[in-house]
Subunit: 217 residues, 2 copies
DNA sequence: GTATTGGTGAATACACCGTACGGTAACGAG
DNA sequence: CTCGTTACCGTACGGTGTATTCACCAATAC
């Protein structure tokens, strides 16, 4: 089988999943495919285009969520699918919001969310729609990015308390015991470990409620 | 004058401002300082730590906004300062939310926002505070990132309509005329150019209103 | 005064990166 | 048979972060 954009993107995604975006190189992809590095340039302009390709593959998975009955359920389904995709492919969050996503599948999920939001109460003219899309995307990007970063640091320091104390602990506890950051200290010490998915859902409902309510400003 | 972490960080920031984060290399920083590349390692563990240093310098500028009278004004001031900093140092948005910000100045602005939110109505226990901080940061990260990316693509394609049609135009218009993305097409064609700062402010007020309102879920 | 030492800034070296470029072999169309 | 196209391949260049080695020079010991 002769090599193709799809196959290149697939193995690139697999490598990025396991070694991160920094550990991804054209040479490694080529080696994984049993091929010289320059072969890839017969199918891809440069690394940036390959990244766009990978991103759109992920969007194609997100786009697979079918339409729901109501606009709200549709938006929630897309958002949760985006989060799930980012958790499965953590590099995706590194790229989220960092470049325009204009691939066909990215446009498809953009269309789906825009169409759903257009049916939301409180969205009457096109300016409302534009604002609603912007706000929703902002909250998705920010939430997902936050969660993935937290998960990474948690993994790097180790989940258990001991490893945490050994790595970030010394510096952070020293910082927090200075008394200059009392609220942050209280958050870190007394704060419960909130369920991530519930937090995400909370953020979503907060801004969806905000969208449906007509504002005066 | 003998070289210092501060001076290294300052010229690194200057270089990143003009050439972007990708165009930033230790060798260029060293050359700018009239020094061998390896000298930097006497002041900095590795490039990652240098990046953390740069980030915290930016946070120090953000932290300069004094306390406002009310919790809402304080939060808004910090958020707008963050946006302003990201517009001045666009590479900052590339890093926003992508790594834990634990520098002293970053902690200081974290403390300030947390303390302000703690005084907000609707925030009663520590779980509320944790959620509020998370939501606010998510919306700041997402909004700023979106805006910077848009500004970049606008600059790369050129602001004027003609250049746009020449670069992204062909592909995008071809995509939009397929009729598969009617809502997106309407947004692109009929959508007015909204003022960026006002959009940001809109996103902020939306979620601040959401925070002050007690939720049932 | 000479020899030895310690430490510090400079230079070299390594492994890796993206990619420009030239070349070769199969193969269907004329 | 020739020719243009397509798929494959290897080498080479300039760049990166960083480990390591080298060169020098001031200070001390004799």
């Amino acid at each position: 089988m002769p090599l193709s954009r799809e196959k290149i993107a697939a193995t690139a995604i697999r490598l990025a999943d396991t070694h991160g975006l920094d550990g991804l190189s054209l040479r490694k992809i080529a080696k994984e495919l049993g091929v010289g590095p320059m072969r890839l340039y017969d199918y891809v302009i440069n690394k940036s285009e390959l990244l766009d390709l990978m991103v759109d593959v992920v969007y194609s998975r997100i786009a697979e969520v079918g339409e729901r009955s109501g606009w709200r359920d549709t938006v929630l389904a897309i958002a949760h699918a985006t989060r799930a995709a980012a958790l499965e492919h953590e590099w995706f969050s590194d790229v989220l919001g960092g470049r325009p996503h204009l691939g066909p599948h990215a446009l498809a999920v953009g269309e789906a969310t825009a169409a759903a939001l257009n049916a939301a109460p409180g969205v009457v003219d096109i300016d409302d729609l534009q604002r609603a899309v912007g706000t929703l995307n902002a909250v998705i990007i920010g939430s997902v990015r936050r969660e993935v970063t937290e998960r990474r640091t948690a993994r790097s320091t180790g989940t258990d308390e001991a490893a945490f104390q050994a790595s970030l602990g010394p510096y952070l506890t020293r910082m927090l015991t200075t008394g200059r950051y009392p609220t942050v200290a209280r958050l870190v010490i007394d704060g419960a470990h909130l369920e991530a998915e519930e937090t995400f859902h909370h953020n979503l409902t907060t801004i969806l409620d905000g969208i449906t309510r007509r504002r005066s400003t």
